[in-house]
């Protein structure tokens, strides 16, 4: 093993930061889109994030479906689910002034329900969540071996992020969405069907979170505890980046990914988690509108 250890650790740090950051950014983007548009702070994001890979795992291991096909199935299955939730719970609050508190509490309720369901059902196999890799083996980055599957996940994540960003900029729906971000009434006056945009943004946000979860399960092993930590991280990123700011979510998400990586080299992953929370608190106190306020 005659290779410079610092170089090794350095590369591993960068790659880890990239993969984690991309997935953070994606998930946080999903959360922040919904908050910016509907004013819905989704406390259940972590549980949704976990739901996707759990279903994927059942599809692939349980029913032996092709991983790619299974992943697409999961995403597809997510839409009607999200629609149902919007229909039953979200929609009725659209005109309530302080609705974000109600939403927050409701999604906390959903969180509790989902975690209850998880430990009841998938909980039994919590040592066996290994989604079959799309690509086996490792690819060498210089001297450093990285699982090809993880590089694939990184690629997908970055592509999705780019697509999301472009869609919000240039696509008709994206522009409508941003119009509603800026000012609901004005958008309505300009003939934007606000409620359709609301529904659309909720579906989009949920799917993006699902995608994040799927990519995470491609890159890492996971267990039920991922839900809470990811949910908190997503919130932290949203708050620090500025609620509703997709750009903020992307930048801060990447940042947090690297923080995680760097801190776990020089301190410990535990400190990393605490540092998110601290960052979020400080921003809440000093600049509730976040770093990238719209």
């Amino acid at each position: 093993m005659a290779m410079d250890p610092n170089l090794l650790v350095g590369i591993s740090m960068v790659t880890t930061g990239l993969v984690l950051g991309a997935i953070f950014a994606l998930t946080a983007a999903g959360v922040t889109i919904v908050y910016g548009c509907i004013w819905l702070p989704n406390a259940a994001s972590g549980q949704l994030f976990l739901l996707a890979p759990l279903v994927l795992w059942s599809f692939t291991i349980g029913f032996g479906i092709e991983p790619v096909l299974a992943a697409l199935l999961v995403l597809a299955a997510g839409l009607p689910l999200a629609y149902l939730v919007e229909r039953l719970l979200i929609r009725r609050f659209y005109d309530v002034p302080d609705r974000n508190i109600s939403y927050f509490v409701i999604t906390l309720g959903i969180t509790q329900i989902l975690s209850g369901i998880f430990s009841l059902t998938w909980g039994r196999w919590s040592d066996q969540y290994n989604v079959p890799p799309l690509a086996a083996g490792v690819t060498f980055i210089g001297p450093f071996p990285l699982p090809t599957n993880r590089i694939l996940a990184l690629g997908c994540a970055l592509t999705l992020l780019a697509a999301l960003f472009l869609a919000l900029r240039y696509h008709r729906f994206g522009r409508a969405l941003r119009a509603v971000f800026q000012n609901r009434e004005a958008a309505a006056l300009r003939g934007v069907d606000v409620r359709r945009v609301y529904l659309g943004s909720f579906l989009l946000g949920t799917s993006v979170i699902f995608a994040g979860g799927l990519l995470y399960s491609m890159a890492y092993s996971f267990d039920l505890s991922v839900a809470w930590s990811m949910g908190i991280a997503a919130f932290a990123i949203m708050i620090v980046g500025g609620p509703g700011s997709v750009l903020g979510a992307l930048v801060v998400g990447m940042l947090f990914g690297f923080v995680q990586a760097v801190v776990s080299v020089f301190a410990s992953p535990t400190v990393a988690t605490l540092s998110y929370l601290l960052a979020m608190l400080l921003i809440l106190l000093l600049r509730p509108s976040g770093l990238f306020a719209r």
Binding site: M1, L8, S12, A219, L224
Partner: protein, 400 residues
Amino acid sequence: MEVRHLKIMLAGAAVVALAAGTAWGEAADPIKVGFVTELTGPWSFSGSSCEAGMRLAEARINGAGGVLKRPLKFLVVDNQTNPTQAVAAARSLDTQEKVLLLSGPTSSDNALAMYGYAEQNQLPFLVPVAAFPQLTKPGTQWTFRLEPDAVGWGYAIAKFIEQKKPGAKVALMYSDFALMRAIAAGVKYQAPLSKLSVSAEIIFPQGSSDATIQATQVRASNPDFIVPIGAGGFDNTIANQLLDLGFKPDQIIHPFGFTTNIIGWGKRSVGSYFGTFFDANLDTVTPEGREFIKDFQAKFNRPPSYIENFCYTTAYVIKEAIEKAGTADRAKFRDALRALKTKEGTSNVPIEFDKNGARKEYIYYMQLTDMDVAKKEYKAKKAFYLEWAPEVIPVYDLVK
């Protein structure tokens, strides 16, 4: 207005009393054992394995006429891998079901929580699978444990490595659970005594899912052997990331391995070592053991491992102790357990407890020789066997 409220409060109080009343059944004919284990939550894989093993023994025992002509009934309650819930369950089994003893936990955290309840309320507690030393700390009166304590495992690992490669460098990577901390403590204590050096020690917080950086750091420290202990699926991640980084399988020593997590490591781990207390591949398995393996395989289409075996054995230890006591009385049962001298029916390993309820300890180290992931089967051969007295090293001082 308030007068009406009195009624409401009274009604509420009535609800509580009533509800409790319904949950309150008086002791029935069978001898009841409270079996609080992990059926859901992070540790559920071992809890449900344990229940499976215990059920086989329960069926056999009651099939053969039970104990003192009374059926032996295991009341299984889920503790959700949550110590708080474990205590609540212990309390209700004690006060509601009036069980003869408690058993069942396979996670040290839950076992320790119940330990407190058992000792405080003078309720016998036979721990099948939980290795945290403090469960049998000096002064323990009511708790007994079948599984050797984890600091001892660490001691055994050091002995194993010493015999494989004198003066070797060892790296430790483990998730931050009581069990893992205890194993690491044992290795670190015995290493210098066995002329070994610990080149790296990395602790993961619970819920970690990636070890790329840490594995690289370990690689950089260039050890001869790595002792990785991840919780749940993370164990597989660590193993595979170590292999990705070019470590040879036979440099990896898993402190423990049971069927599901051995399969989880994957075929590329063939050649790695793992510690165990019962394995279907051992030639010391008795005819009864063979039958147990056959029945289990038929029922769960995977071979049982030490968790299932300990829980299977637990049922028989309880049976023998009750028969020795001649009555289902808690104190008499406790004394019978203390005096018990017997063997595991499945492998003839001796069973006897010291004054603190700790068992005469032993461990096997097996080397994986082949694996069929699809069939959930693996082959392994014995590489090392060790027996030792519980306090060969100061286990109770090493972890608090």
